[in-house]
Amino acid sequence: MTETALTRPILTEAVKLALIARFTALADDEMILSHRVAEWTGHAPLLEEDIALANIAQDELGHATLWLGLRAALDGSNADALAYHRDAAEFRNVPLTELPKGDWAVTMVRQYLFDAWEVLWLDAARQSSYVPLAEAATQALREEKFHLQHTALWVERLALGTPESTRRTQDALTQLWPYALGLGEPLPTEADAVAAGLLPDVADVQTRWQRLVRGHLEGVGLSFPTLSPLPYNRQQHTEHLVPLLADFQRVAREFPESRVW
């Protein structure tokens, strides 16, 4: 037993369920986005970017493993079973992450908005009184900031590039912004865990995030759309998740008993 295990607070059942729900949401965001980003492998416009996106996808998948590990410590679940044997309706990712990869602008704007959110959420989660979360957040943040540095430069370059790149980047932001706001919606079960200092308050993260991305993107001439509410959320997915999972889960479902890959 490690020192951290000894100092772990005793969790009420409700708080435990809130942590499980949040770890699942985080893991599903990372897993689904990782799959979308990996779709560029072998297809990116530049070799360096092909490599960069493969790295980013691999990091996000590593983070999904961290979150599923934290969940397993609470409920004994199996990461592979959760990744490969749940159906679309059981996934808790934000629909932002499941949208098709689109063009380069869509890919970069989505990744930028997600990375900025993740960096700020992780930064807040470092203060969690739930030690395993604070430790995982510290680890993931160090990796995630490389993504943000990369995608922040790309959205600037695209927004300030040619008339075509500016148009495509603006279109991407207009399409993605309503979906991106889904990142800041609190989970229905987490209020007590937030009050107890176990989970970050997403309202605070949302404020910092909006200030960061609005300042940055408006600074390079992009404008944010006026909002129309979406019919999608972490429980109601778009039509794009089912085909994504068909691809992602295919081998595991075809050979459920396999032990050696």
């Binding site: 490690t2 951290t4 360096e48 490599i51 960069a52 493969a54 790295n55 980013i56 691999q58 990091d59 996000e60 998948l61 590593g62 983070h63 493993t65 961290l66 900025a116 960096v119 700020l120 930064d123 030690v131 395993p132 430790e135 995982a136 510290t138 680890q139 993931a140 160090r142 990796e143 900031k145 490389f146 943000l148 540095q149 990369h150 922040a152 430069l153 960061l212 940055h216």
Partner: protein, 169 residues
Amino acid sequence: MTALSVQNYWDALRGVADPEIPVVNIVEMGMVRSIDIVEHSDVGEHGVRVRFTPTFSGCPALHVIRQGITEALAAAGADAVTVENVFSPPWTTDDITPEARAKLETYGIAPPAPNGESTLFMTLEPEAVRCPRCGSFDTRMTASFGSALCKRMYVCQACREPFEGMKSV
């Protein structure tokens, strides 16, 4: 069997190479936090417990390294080995020993700059990266990601050599 010391196992782990950068071993990379001998326990008559700190959470080499630890310690006399992950304090490139830094440089990989904690998440941190071939600081990053999660790409403007450098985390 004669009593085997902890030192014996540290020496054994110095034989486990980093699979991505085989010129350095996992001890000098700072990945092994502690080794304990556990006699007559549930892990075996002469069990060894290793506390291991992962580098990058998505690094595929971690599985290979854990397997390497188990094999090396078994070969050194352990009846049973447990490898425990430790995330706190997190691994940082500051844990890499001066000897390992010298080996990286000889191998052609610029060692990481000292890690500074910054909350300016979007800003590229200025790092003076020295060309491992000619020693010039007149270098330029050509790609912020490289062949492994821990590396990025540079070119030396003095000798024109492209090279890899370790990210500073």
